[in-house]
Symmetry: C2
Subunit: 250 residues, 2 copies
């Protein structure tokens, strides 16, 4: 197989895609590492693949996608890893299509830690949630750190931006969703089994400020994960995991 | 209040304490930031405090602990933060005393991600676990990143090193503990309420390799968190959080 060098134009594109603005402009993002690139063949629309000239980690023989190569020195410019494996790909940002009859949706406010966001995307995929809504000032979900810690779940989970939390609440309440907020102001005595029968929009605040009060006052059910010891709070992605396990639709 | 400059000897000590070997040699570690330093006054044995010469974030007037100052340039040498708040302290590594009649203990194998370990320490503190056992090749729990993400819970949770997993199992089984492993080879149909009556040693493997097979064959109960969607696995600290919430002693 003869592989051409990556053109300067495409190199410029890679550089641009490290910025949110340009990811949105082009509708593209970068994935890196053989595992996620392999997953992308079935789960995403891949524009092209870039490999280190001596890359051997994955058989690319029968792949019907343009492949280009770079020298080690060049590759490192575009890699987000300290020790790059030697493969990355440019893929389309998936359309955020919701299933016809969604039952479990999570809304996050002002999440800024990319590792937490990626971990949450992976958790929602494990528990078969229908979508993630990002409200307020959130890190871009197609940021390379989010993508990496989502471990491929980024391809499968519809991600929706909300411009106005109260309108989003109303919109889902009109579709017979109940609102369930996770909050240190909540009670641990909710009727979990009753709630599991309903369609649920789970709402989380930021780790430092909780759910904004104008939202919290609109939420029918406020739950607090039982606190038995002394820590002031739980990490956000841990709280989301516990709530997903409690309230997932099985 | 007149505050002296930090002596060169103590500056050398700070540098040394960035290494595990020296933390063990001196039985000391570094905490950084006003929140955790303030908590340490009640929860740890503080050797001395170091502040940036113009630090004002915390009132240190009535504190009976030696305080030293450093210029901004010097302080940055010893800070583990990109934007240091201007306060750190050297504290004693707590003795790992177990309560008289422990009921919930978590054992981790080969954990190497400091953020995950700190998050797990915080989670165990929230759920009032009695201790954490570290088995195999683990990151040092007094590493600055672990300490930071533990959010003060590092002072409250006894942490024990295990040299031999099977001996540790036997030791706790002799104290009437049951072993409960979290594993992708486990079943989601365990009788959780029955198990909650018992003393439990929860065992986790590393995120990439799971529980070592010589351990897994000794574990009476293997549980898998119900998987409803497509992600291959959950993040380790998310799994620990879910298991703690399911099996905590309330």
């Amino acid at each position: 197989m003869l592989i051409e060098n990556l053109s300067l134009n495409k190199q410029k594109l890679l550089l641009k895609l490290s910025k949110k603005k340009h990811r949105q402009e082009f509708g593209l993002f970068i994935i890196e590492g053989s595992k996620i690139v392999e997953e992308s063949f079935n789960e995403a629309q891949v524009e092209f693949i870039v490999v280190l000239d001596k890359f051997k980690g994955l058989s690319l023989k029968d792949i019907n996608i343009p492949i280009f190569k770079l020298s080690e020195k060049e590759f490192k410019k575009y890699s987000s890893l300290q020790n790059p494996e030697g493969i990355l790909a440019v893929v389309k940002i998936p359309e955020s299509k919701l299933l016809e009859d969604p039952k479990r949706i999570l809304m996050l406010n002002d999440i800024n830690d990319p590792g937490n966001l990626g971990t949450i995307i992976r958790t929602l995929d494990w528990f078969n949630f229908d979508a993630l809504i990002l409200q307020g000032d959130c890190v871009d979900p197609y940021n390379e750190k989010v993508v990496r810690s989502s471990m491929g779940s980024i391809f499968r989970l519809p991600i929706i931006k909300s411009q106005n939390a109260l309108e989003t609440f109303e919109n889902y309440q009109n579709k017979n969703f109940e609102l369930l907020g996770l909050s240190l102001n909540g009670t641990s005595n909710l009727q979990i089994e009753n709630l599991k029968e309903k369609k649920l929009l789970l709402v989380f605040g930021s780790e430092s400020h909780g759910i904004p009060s104008n939202q919290e006052s609109q939420i029918e059910n406020l739950y607090q994960i039982p606190k038995l010891g002394k820590a002031e709070s739980l990490n956000l992605s841990v709280s989301v995991g516990i709530a997903c396990n409690l309230f997932a639709k099985n």
